[in-house]
């Protein structure tokens, strides 16, 4: 099953070839556990966010989860030449826009800023879904189509709605 999926999406699944050496197998286990830890930190962070005393820590906890999730992705990456550049450039530009935007906005305009960030996140989801669908050519397998279309619809609605807000 895994090999069938991976032959259809080689860019993501290049890290999961059918014959894994013991070391590679251990790495994939560590990565999976790291993602699990990230998810746990997100949930715990949200729990902390529900009380005034722990709220600020909750934000940091969730941010730590995000860092772990991103770190766990690094071993999975197989860059093409352009891929490395756009990833690096994109990360830098995004960080700049996010930090500057979040710091410079007036306190009264913060809800709009949050809506804007939410919208672009949804837009990103839609774009990723489109890019992944394109990799499959004319007849993508249903398992890929369903979440992709879901993402595209929700992402685009989120993006458009946030622009209006």
């Amino acid at each position: 099953m895994r090999s069938l999926r991976c032959s259809a999406a080689p860019s993501i699944c290049a890290a999961w070839p059918p014959n894994l050496s013991p070391k590679a197998r251990a790495v994939t286990v560590v990565i999976a556990l790291a993602y699990l830890l990230a998810a746990v930190l997100f949930i715990l962070g949200l729990k902390q966010l529900s009380s005034p005393k722990g709220a600020r820590n909750g934000n940091f906890t969730a941010a730590a989860g995000m860092v772990i999730a991103l770190g766990a992705t690094v071993p999975l990456l197989h860059f093409t030449k352009a891929g490395l550049e756009i990833t690096a450039v994109g990360l830098v530009i995004g960080t700049l826009i996010g930090t500057v935007g979040a710091r410079m906005v007036r306190m009264t305009a913060i809800p709009q800023m949050v809506a804007l960030f939410n919208g672009v996140g949804g837009g990103a989801a839609a774009l990723v879904a489109v890019a992944e669908l394109l990799k499959f050519g004319v007849h993508p397998p249903f398992a890929e189509v369903f979440p992709s279309v879901f993402s595209i619809v929700i992402g685009s609605v989120s993006f458009a709605g946030s622009m209006v807000a």
Partner: protein, 98 residues
């Protein structure tokens, strides 16, 4: 293939329940920071964007990947920074909306 989809569906359904429970009984004053925090978390799409952008091979996927990474990073970084700004006001006791 279908097995994979079923696993993902299971996670999805369970996650819905977790999400519901975690955000219930939140004091009104924390509603906006909570919204902002959960928004920052949904920037996890950045993982997907990076995975997609890293393997970009055609002009279309390069453009899509670049824009997706920019947007997703903005969501993540901006989301956490703006949430922190809101929560700076909360030093122990509720500081109320000023």
């Amino acid at each position: 293939m279908t097995n994979e989809l079923l696993n993902e569906l299971t996670f999805f359904v369970l996650a819905i329940f977790v999400g519901f429970e975690v955000i219930s009984k939140v004091p009104t004053i924390l509603h906006t920071p909570l919204m902002s925090g959960t928004n920052a978390i949904h920037g996890i799409i950045l993982v997907g964007a990076i995975l997609s952008a890293a393997g970009a091979d055609s002009p279309v996927t390069v453009v899509l990947g670049l824009v997706a990474v920019i947007l997703a990073t903005t969501n993540v970084v901006g989301g956490f920074v703006v949430t922190d700004r809101m929560l700076e006001m909360f030093k122990g006791r509720q500081a109320a909306k000023k």
